[in-house]
Each structure stands twice: as structure tokens, then as C-alpha cells.
């Protein structure tokens, strides 16, 4: 049996939640003081995901970098692979918000999109 310690992010209480696991099965969730904490803990141990936000190199624009994000959250364990792929890539101005800058980032199947406009130089 494995015990996982989490801090709930739903409200400023920040309940310390302990999830007891047997392999992939959740045996018991303790420490949450409301139902939202239960749902949060379940998702965090089953498939934690995060949206990655960073910047990507731009050529031919008024600025050298544009802010971007993964269109959907990616598995938490793959954040650094996603960062590496984004840091190797570059894109050309003009760029509009929502433009796909990388189609499938680091094999996650999730695109990276621009979050800011860049005009051509």
C-alpha cells in the first residue's frame, strides 16, 4: 500500500489530503473537508494534468518571443519534454492569438497555440 500526500487547491483552506493506494486502486481518501477535495484528490492521483505556458522564438516579427500555451492540459509527468520541444521550435510572424505553433507537442497529441499577437517587423 502506498500513501500519497496532496494539498487541495479548491479554496484557501488547503486541506492536507492523504490518498491510500493499492496499485492503481484508491483504497481511501482522508483529510478532505468537502466533496470538491475528494474529486480533486481522485483526479490528482489518477491522471494529474497541467497547462504549460511559456514563450517560443519568433522570426520576422516586431518582438523576438511570443507567449504560448498547450491548448489542453498535458500529463504532469511530461511537462519537461513539452518545454524541451517548445524551446527547440521557432515560428514566423505574423502571429494571431490561437494560431497553432506546434501541431503535436512532444508526442502528447496536444498542440501549442499562441496567446499574443505578433505583427511583422
Amino acid at each position: 500500500m502506498e500513501k500519497r500526500e496532496l494539498t487541495c487547491i479548491n479554496c484557501p483552506m488547503g486541506c492536507r489530503i492523504t490518498v491510500t493506494m493499492e496499485g492503481d486502486d484508491i483504497i481511501v481518501i482522508e483529510g478532505n473537508t468537502c466533496k470538491r477535495g475528494f474529486v480533486y484528490a481522485t483526479n490528482e492521483v489518477r491522471s494529474p494534468v497541467r497547462t504549460v505556458t511559456t514563450t517560443i522564438k519568433v522570426t520576422g516579427g516586431t518582438v523576438d518571443r511570443v507567449s504560448c500555451k498547450t491548448k489542453e492540459p498535458v500529463p504532469k509527468g511530461r511537462i519537461f519534454e513539452v518545454m524541451e520541444a517548445i524551446n527547440k521550435a521557432s515560428c514566423k510572424a505574423p502571429i494571431a492569438i490561437g494560431d497553432v505553433l506546434i501541431e503535436d507537442c512532444a508526442g502528447t497529441g496536444i498542440p501549442v497555440i499562441a496567446t499574443k499577437v505578433v505583427s511583422p517587423a
Binding site: C11, P12, V52, T55, D64, I97, T115
Partner: protein
């Protein structure tokens, strides 16, 4: 130059105020003066997500949130001047300077102050030690990394656990730096819980509560900092010192509303917020001069800035049209036990748009306690809260009908039972 309303600052507050004023009266001539090279203010460097949940019901990044407002601004044909610094504000004339016009004045009917806030720098923190390169405020580092594309360092210690510091701990880590610790002087963090989990815990960055930096070492560049635990009086505890090798120290130790213009204009300042004292219309002590956003009081959520600034913009539009309601009762809002300040400070009942939203911060952490609202000493609201912390702004909303009895005083307090 002439304008009906001059808006000082084109960040989230200025954008929302301008849009709301234009929607209130499309004939108004509104002018935004912005000192940066683009509109959007601090949102431009806040490339992380979490903005707009209240306003748009979706999670946006800072630049996306700003762009939503800029589109509306363009749609309404609102004028703005970039790279333009306001030098002086009076109720009917604003003086500014830029490279094209030189020094110029704008005659106006109303002014909305939207200058935002500044970070508390090293000089205001009295950290002992040498003066090497490598000490940055977290916001400066954020601008360098996210806009200029430079990494300020490789091995980092962060002092202060405000949200910008937490966000930068993650940002620096993602870009390959090693963040060794976040030290917080207080026994609790000033940042949002979500940021502590997703910016520190996710990357195993230690948060050291009741700790501070007591020495900075390095001749040309920071080589290490010495941290120590502090007691209840914030004094370092002997024997708890640890030296951490690093090349960079980031400071996230609070924000100060930028009120130099307000002060020289003679606007009355609330010492608890370092921002202007305002009424229900976000009007300062000078008629026709309004204030909103972080120049008024520091917010955790931009959504609340946009909402309050909308009110300020509409009020400015009504002021210009001289649409004043008849004078009526004035209700003073008082800080009771545990409440550091409230915005607004007083309410002119006849000028109230609709419901009265009172925002406030506590001075301490309270668990299983109550927020009470008293009208002239009589309890009107007694609401249980599982937790109240200084890091998260609280609010109470009072219906206009509830205020019809026109109490002379509303007291907000936090109690154990």
C-alpha cells in the same frame, strides 16, 4: 488637447474603465495615456493562465485577457497614446510628456487614475549584505524571461511567497534554473493555495515559512545568501542560519500602489491600502478624480479589477454629463475586529448603482470564524467562513433595498463565534 475623460494608465484597470465609460455614453471623448510601448500593463508579462474565470468563465493567460479588452476598445474607437508619461494630474487638466509632442496638457472633465502598483525593492526591505548584481524583484525577472527572453540566473533563492514569486519559481524551473528555496517571513504564505501547489509542490521546491534572508554574499555577482528562521517578532533565531549557494535572489515582498500623481494632486490616501480613499463610485476626495485597480488597493484577481474599474468608468461618464443624483444620506463603512481596510470607505446612498460590493482584507489568518456586518450596531449578516487569510480578498454584497433604511454606519468585523 481636449478630452472628456483622461485615463492614466492602459493596464487592466484603465482598459475596463475606458470601455465602461464609452458604453455608458458613446459620445464621450475618452483618452488613455500609457507609458509603456503597448496597452495591457502587467498582463503582458503574466503569460501563465488562470485569468478570466469570473469575467469570461474560462481560463485565459494574461495576454489573452488583455486582448479581449483591447478588441472592445478598438471596436468602441477609444483613443490612446503609448510611450506617454503623465507628469501631473489636477481635476480638469492632465500634463503629460512623450517624444513626439514634448510636454503637453489635456483639458478634461474627469480623470480616472489607473497607475497600478510597484514591487517593494531591495532598498525598501533593509536586507543586510553586499550589493552585487543578481538581486531582482520577481516582476523584473518575469519581464526579462517572458518578454525580453533573457534568463536572469541559474541558481535561485526567492524571498517572499507572494503570487509573483511563486509563479516565477515555476517559470525559472521550467526554463532550466534550479530554484533552491522560497523563504517567507510570515508563518503563512501571502500567495494563493493553487500557486503553492502548482508552482512549488509540483517541482519539489521547499517553502520555508518564518524564514528570511539575513545576508547577501558576493562581490560582483551574488554567490550565496544566508537565511535564518525568525521568531514571532520577525527576529532571526541564532543557530538557525543556513548558507545557500546561488547566483540570483528574487524578491516577492509585496506591492505598493503607485500614487505619486494622486498625492501631488492632493487626493486623500488611506494609510492601510496606500491607495486613495474612495466612495461607492470610486471617486477620490477630489470631485471628478476617480481611482481603480491596483492603484486603489492591491488585488489577487484581475477579474475584480475589471469589475471595479467598470464601475469607476461609468461613474466618470456620469460625472462628465453632470448627472448627479440629489444629495442624500451618507453611510460610513468602518473596519471592525480583524479587518484591515474596506473599499469603498463610504457610500452616498443616492449615487449607488445597484448592489453594494464591499471588498476587504483581514489582518491575520482566521479559521472557523465569522464575518459580521452591523448596521448602526445591529447585526445584519453573520456568515461562517472556514478560513480567512490576508492573502485572499474577501467581500460582502449588500442589496440596495437592504440599505434603504440608511444606517449612518456599516461595520465589518471578523469574530470567533
Amino acid at each position: 488637447m481636449k478630452a472628456d475623460i483622461v485615463i492614466v494608465g492602459g493596464g487592466p484597470a484603465g482598459l475596463a474603465a475606458a470601455i465602461a465609460a464609452a458604453k455608458e455614453d458613446s459620445n464621450l471623448n475618452i483618452l488613455i495615456l500609457e507609458r509603456d510601448r503597448e496597452l495591457g500593463g502587467i498582463l503582458n508579462q503574466c503569460i501563465h493562465n488562470g485569468f478570466g474565470l469570473h469575467t469570461f468563465n474560462e481560463e485565459l493567460t494574461g495576454p489573452e485577457y488583455a486582448a479581449r479588452f483591447e478588441e472592445q476598445l478598438d471596436g468602441l474607437g477609444i483613443r490612446y497614446m503609448l510611450d506617454t508619461m503623465v507628469l501631473d494630474v489636477a481635476s480638469s487638466v492632465v500634463t503629460a510628456v512623450n517624444s513626439k509632442e514634448g510636454v503637453f496638457t489635456v483639458d478634461c472633465g474627469a480623470v480616472v487614475l489607473c497607475m497600478g502598483c510597484r514591487e517593494r525593492p531591495r532598498g525598501a526591505l533593509n536586507i543586510p549584505g553586499l550589493r552585487p548584481a543578481g538581486v531582482f524583484t520577481a516582476g523584473t525577472a518575469q519581464r526579462l524571461v517572458n518578454i525580453e527572453g533573457f534568463m536572469p540566473g541559474k541558481e535561485v533563492v526567492i524571498l517572499g511567497s507572494g503570487d509573483i514569486g511563486l509563479i516565477m519559481a515555476r517559470r525559472m524551473t521550467l526554463e532550466g534554473a534550479k530554484v533552491k528555496a522560497v523563504c517567507e517571513l510570515m508563518p503563512y504564505s501571502g500567495g494563493l493555495k493553487r500557486n503553492i501547489v502548482q508552482c512549488l509542490d509540483d517541482f519539489d521546491i521547499p517553502l520555508l515559512l518564518s524564514h528570511t534572508v539575513i545576508d547577501i554574499k558576493g562581490k560582483e555577482r551574488v554567490t550565496s545568501v544566508v537565511i535564518a528562521e525568525v521568531d514571532e517578532k520577525s527576529k532571526p533565531v541564532p543557530g538557525t542560519e543556513q548558507e545557500i549557494a546561488c547566483d540570483t535572489l528574487l524578491l516577492s515582498c509585496g506591492l505598493i500602489p503607485e500614487n505619486e500623481l494622486s498625492r501631488s494632486a492632493g487626493v486623500k490616501i488611506n494609510p492601510a491600502t496606500n491607495g486613495p480613499v474612495v466612495n461607492e463610485s470610486f471617486e477620490t476626495s477630489i470631485p471628478g478624480v476617480f481611482a481603480c485597480g491596483n492603484v486603489l488597493h492591491v488585488h489577487d484577481l484581475v477579474d475584480y479589477v475589471s469589475e471595479e474599474s467598470g464601475r469607476a468608468g461609468r461613474s466618470a461618464a456620469r460625472f462628465v454629463k453632470a448627472n448627479k443624483a440629489e444629495e442624500g444620506p451618507v453611510i460610513n463603512i468602518k473596519n471592525g475586529n480583524g479587518v484591515r481596510y474596506t473599499v469603498p470607505s463610504f457610500v452616498r446612498l443616492n449615487e449607488l448603482e445597484d448592489d453594494l460590493v464591499i471588498r476587504f482584507r483581514s489582518g491575520n489568518v482566521y479559521k472557523d470564524s465569522y464575518i459580521n456586518v452591523l448596521f448602526d450596531g445591529e447585526t445584519k449578516l453573520h456568515r461562517r467562513k472556514q478560513i480567512i487569510t490576508p492573502g485572499e480578498m474577501e467581500q460582502v454584497i449588500l442589496k440596495k433595498e437592504e440599505l434603504s433604511g440608511a444606517p449612518s454606519e456599516i461595520l465589518i468585523e471578523i469574530t470567533e463565534n
